[in-house]
């Protein structure tokens, strides 16, 4: 069983402190703790499965390990995989290659650890320079460019709306129109 420790002093907590309805003091530093444990704490770490060796000639082999027995196909590329190469993720089975390529492209979702929010960038570029309005001569086209260039880019995992992009484009277009009118007026005075 893995050990649960006090998050202040690192003392290993025992079963008497687990799942208590009221505060329980750490036996070492006496700090009040509430420890909620789940069955995964008591589960033995699963060992990796190695692929089974092919015994008959008619059996399908793994794409990456031809001498190992294929157990299922990759859900992305369809290649046959042995137990070692099979990676289960969100109920699907992938080969390591597809998973790595997918991770770089942000697909399947759930693998990415970081995302750039181009919609927030475009919105800020269109709104913040209004405080020092001459800056909008540069930032408005920049905001418009980002909004168009990254229109299809994946945004936030949790907030999946294009409203910021649309807002940024509208404001940038208004600013560009304003500058165009201003320059037109100056040149034709």
């Amino acid at each position: 069983m893995a050990a649960v420790t006090c998050t202040k002093c690192g003392f290993v907590l025992n079963e008497t402190t687990f799942n208590q309805p009221v505060w329980t003091g750490c036996p070492s530093c006496k700090v009040p703790l509430l420890v909620e444990v789940f069955p995964a704490l008591f589960k033995e770490a699963a060992s990796a499965q190695s692929g089974q060796v092919l015994v008959t000639e008619g059996e399908a082999g793994c794409f990456y390990h031809p001498h190992k027995k294929a157990v299922l196909p990759c859900d992305a590329c369809g290649r046959f995989l042995c137990a070692l190469c099979d990676i289960e993720f969100s109920g699907q089975h992938f080969c390591p290659g597809c998973l790595e390529t997918g991770r770089k492209k942000g697909s399947p979702a759930g693998l990415d650890k970081r995302r750039t929010l181009y919609d927030s960038l475009a919105r800020s570029l269109s709104l913040l320079p209004l405080l020092i309005w001459p800056l909008t001569l540069i930032t408005a086209p920049a905001a418009l460019f980002i909004a168009i260039r990254y229109w299809k880019a994946q945004g936030s995992v949790v907030r999946r709306s294009k409203i910021f992009m649309v807002l940024a484009m509208l404001i940038a277009l208004i600013q560009i129109a304003g500058w165009t009118i201003l320059f037109w007026t100056w040149f034709h005075r």
């Binding site: 893995a2 050990a3 649960v4 420790t5 006090c6 998050t7 202040k8 002093c9 690192g10 003392f11 290993v12 025992n14 079963e15 008497t16 687990f18 799942n19 505060w23 070492s28 009040p32 703790l33 509430l34 420890v35 909620e36 444990v37 789940f38 069955p39 995964a40 704490l41 008591f42 770490a45 859900d75 992305a76 590329c77 369809g78 969100s90 699907q92 290659g97 597809c98 390529t101 997918g102 492209k105 697909s107 399947p108 979702a109 759930g110 990415d112 650890k113 970081r114 995302r115 750039t116 929010l117 181009y118 927030s120 960038l121 800020s124 936030s156 995992v157 949790v158 999946r160 709306s161």
Partner: protein, 204 residues
């Protein structure tokens, strides 16, 4: 590998994503970043937003081993601090004869008292950690016990659905084995017995 095969991998559609995550109570914000917790179909998502990017940490229900909530004294300290500041402003208001400045200091004192009261009424403060087989991570948004309980109630239900119920005998203290009892005796004889049981090791 040809990228076209990735088209077969179902991407997260907008409608699906919106329904996929449920925002959980609690938020920590500063000038540089802010944290939020989201409840996914099979995991807890911790989002740290820094300006124009977001960083994600996923804790799958089947992997969560424990939550450890530790009570902190931040509530008392902050309440006392706000009250002290309010008292200082109130003293300034009493010592100044100018009615304009007296009013100004009185408003500030009232504001300090209000902050102190709000902080006290928000309830006990805590630090919450989630533990999996490979990591123990702090959940920064769970800084009040009330928020932590509100978040952990639905989480506990989801985790139990994923892992099954915990057998009561798991929570029974185990009788110490011979080796453990010998070790505990030796530790009790040693002057720094408490430190001996700690998991953290210090470098020589």
């Amino acid at each position: 590998m040809d990228d076209s095969v990735l088209d077969l991998v179902p991407p997260l559609s907008m409608a699906r994503a919106e329904k996929m995550y449920l925002r959980l109570p609690g938020r920590v914000a500063s000038i540089a970043h802010h944290h939020r917790l989201w409840l996914g179909p099979d995991h807890l998502l911790s989002v740290r937003a820094t300006g124009f990017s977001e960083e994600y940490k996923r804790f799958y229900f089947r992997d969560i081993q424990a939550f450890v909530i530790r009570k902190t004294s931040r509530r008392g300290i902050l309440t006392a601090l706000f009250a002290l500041v309010a008292m200082a402003f109130a003293l300034s208001a009493l010592l100044i004869s100018d009615p304009y400045w007296r009013g100004f200091w009185a408003v500030l004192a009232g504001f300090g008292l209000l902050l102190s009261a709000v902080n006290w009424l928000a309830g006990p403060t805590c630090v919450c950690h989630v533990r999996t087989a490979v990591q123990t991570e702090q959940l920064p948004t769970l800084r009040r016990l009330r928020t932590a309980r509100r978040v952990l109630a639905p989480l506990k239900q989801r985790i139990e659905e994923a892992q099954g119920p915990l057998a009561p005998e798991r929570l029974q203290p185990k009788p110490p084995s011979l080796a453990e009892s010998a070790a505990s005796k030796a530790a009790a004889q040693a002057p720094n017995a408490a430190n001996g049981a700690r998991t953290t090791t210090s470098l020589p």
